[in-house]
């Protein structure tokens, strides 16, 4: 199976919400593909339209315009019955888990199969098997109220996997969990992705989630697709302000320094450049001193990459010297727009 096969294809998808005195463009002319077998991240600020977008992937939300193609079928053309059948192959998990509190863990996991009229015995066997996958086989007869948040999300994942879906849609699935549990759930998702070759779509406003497990990412801003690409690519050279804003939040911290009438640049290192003592060399080679305002490193797709915000010297010539030096070294950088400009 080719990695390049699109399981979802969005063509100029738009969603308008009519409110009393205005029209909200929640999703605005968005087109992209989600590939079979990948973990695809959709990230954006609160209100950007992420939830609306993901809900259009299983037509919980009707597109006002454009089309959503799933596995070759235009969702907009399906009858209600066909839509229900196709939804059985696209499971969804939620921030609030949405388990039935009055049913046992086992009954929750059996539910999608019950709806699909799978024979009872098979329901139970498969449910227990899925609980094993998420590491909760001993909780089969527990009630959701007796479980922790992380355990509840595991049950929700088991429930989602029950019908052996082609895709798993996750809307802020880890947003109500603490960092450690988030890690565990993400590791579980990655594991499932690899073992079952299951396409996973992850909606989040947390960059760290995308960093950890996504192959590709789409950045949504004001309902529009701002940027899309390999996570590593988008991370190391974000092309839009929206992307920089999400990816490089150090810029926001820059306001805290409130330094500066001086020019600042952001230097982004990929794995190779990070091992080079760039700043030390810079100072040694040019004799110009620069001030490091902040620095940050993370691992994206197994490659360490770092970023640094450097304040240039006041003197124009010295500043240009620094810029030229960095340019020469082939290191990725760009000048940060001044405060008051939209960062």
């Amino acid at each position: 199976m080719s990695e390049q096969t699109a399981i979802f294809r969005l063509n100029h998808v738009t969603k308008l919400f009519q409110t009393k005195n205005s029209t909200v463009r929640a999703v605005d002319d968005v087109s992209f593909d989600i590939r079979q077998g990948e973990i695809f991240g959709i990230i954006g600020m609160s209100g950007a339209g992420k939830s609306t977008l993901v809900r259009m992937l299983n037509r919980l939300e009707e597109a006002t315009d454009g089309e959503v193609i799933f596995d070759g079928k235009n969702l907009g053309n399906l009858s209600n019955k066909q839509l229900r059948t196709i939804r059985m192959s696209m499971a969804m998990i939620f921030q609030s888990f949405n388990l039935l509190m009055q049913k046992t863990v086992l009954a929750n996991v059996m539910l999608p199969m019950k709806i699909a009229h799978v024979p009872h015995k098979e329901q139970k066997e498969r449910a227990l098997q899925m609980l094993k996958v998420v590491g909760l086989e001993d909780k089969a007869s527990a009630w959701p109220a007796q479980l922790s948040g992380g355990q509840r999300q595991r049950v929700a994942i088991a429930r989602a996997l029950a019908m052996n879906p082609k895709v798993l849609l996750c809307d802020e699935a880890t947003s109500s969990l603490d960092p450690k549990i988030t890690e565990e759930i993400l590791a579980l998702l990655k594991d499932i992705n690899q073992k079952l070759n299951l396409t996973i779509v992850i909606i989040t406003h947390e960059m760290s989630v995308v960093e950890k497990i996504c192959d590709r990412v789409a950045i949504i801003s004001d309902g529009k697709l701002a940027e899309i690409g390999e996570v590593k690519e988008v991370f190391t050279s974000p092309k839009t302000e929206a992307a920089r804003h999400l990816i490089l939040p150090v810029e926001k911290e820059l306001n805290l320094f409130d330094t500066t009438d001086r020019r600042c640049i952001r230097i982004v290192f990929d794995g190779r450049a990070a091992s080079d003592p760039l700043i030390a060399n810079l100072v040694a080679d040019t004799g110009v001193k620069v001030n490091i305002l902040c620095a940050d490193t993370k691992t994206v797709g197994g490659v360490g990459f770092g970023q640094m915000i450097v304040e240039l010297p006041k003197d124009e010539d010295a500043a240009n010297l620094v810029i030229n030096y960095i340019k020469e070294k082939g290191v990725n950088f760009h000048e940060i727009e001044r405060k008051g400009d939209k960062i």
């Binding site: 299983n58 919980l60 839509l83 229900r84 059948t85 196709i86 939804r87 059985m88 696209m90 499971a91 969804m92 939620f94 609030s96 949405n98 039935l100 509190m101 009055q102 049913k103 539910l111 999608p112 019950k114 709806i115 699909a116 009630w143 959701p144 109220a145 019908m163 849609l169």
Partner: protein, 217 residues
């Protein structure tokens, strides 16, 4: 008191229970679907339908705002048509049921509305049909609340049944009125009232117990 009187009271208890329980069950047979319809036809819900929602809502409000005593009188022709008589235990079940339907419907509506919308969304995302969503998701999730509601309805219908005793219904209400009020037999009045209180207590306690036993969150 003579044993004859005890037999009378015993029969009264049976009649009262019979009226109350049958009327409540009948009221649920009609009120439960109406309550469900009120929920699922509401705005943004799975079977949104403004007209149905409005008509049912207005109908329920009209019936609920008629005082029960007046409903008893107004319904006499209808009761006679249905049961062939307008007095006695069986006849009383008719107005009791009619009076309880809107209360049941609204109680069911409010219980079902407590179910978080996320549950419905999860159900939809699994490909559940509206019928499945109602019976496999919403109602099971609302069950403890529905049971508590049923308990309250039972006690309300019991109160109504005593009222019905005043205009020819049977049961403890009629006994209290005939013996205790018209014949000044204070002891009978006292005993019947005490029994009514006990029955309400038993209903309420067992209902609460059952609801709590069913509730897992």
């Amino acid at each position: 008191m003579t044993s004859q009187l005890w037999v009378l009271i015993g029969n009264g208890v049976l009649e009262t229970l019979q009226m109350t329980v049958s009327a409540t069950i009948l009221a649920y047979l009609i009120g439960l679907p109406i309550g469900i319809a009120l929920v699922v036809t509401a705005k943004e819900h799975i079977l949104q339908n403004r007209i149905v929602n409005l008509v049912l809502g207005v109908l329920m409000n009209i019936f609920r705002s008629i005082p029960f005593l007046i409903l008893l009188v107004v319904l006499i022709p209808f009761t006679r048509f249905v049961t062939g008589s307008s007095i006695g235990t069986t006849a009383t079940i008719v107005p009791l049921t009619v009076g309880a339907i809107p209360i049941v419907a609204r109680m069911v509506e409010s219980s079902l509305k407590e179910v978080p919308s996320g549950i419905v969304e999860a159900a939809q995302s699994m490909g559940a049909s509206p019928i499945s969503i109602i019976f496999r998701f919403i109602i099971p999730e609302a069950m403890p609340s529905l049971l508590l509601g049923a308990t309250i309805n039972l006690a309300t219908v019991l109160g109504y049944s005593a009222m019905a005793g005043c205009i020819g219904g049977g049961g403890l209400g009629a006994i209290a009125l005939n013996y205790g009020y018209y014949r000044y037999q204070q002891d009978i009045l006292f005993i019947t009232v005490a029994i009514l209180i006990i029955i309400v207590q038993v209903f309420q306690e067992s209902g609460t117990l059952l609801a709590n036993k069913k509730r897992h969150s």
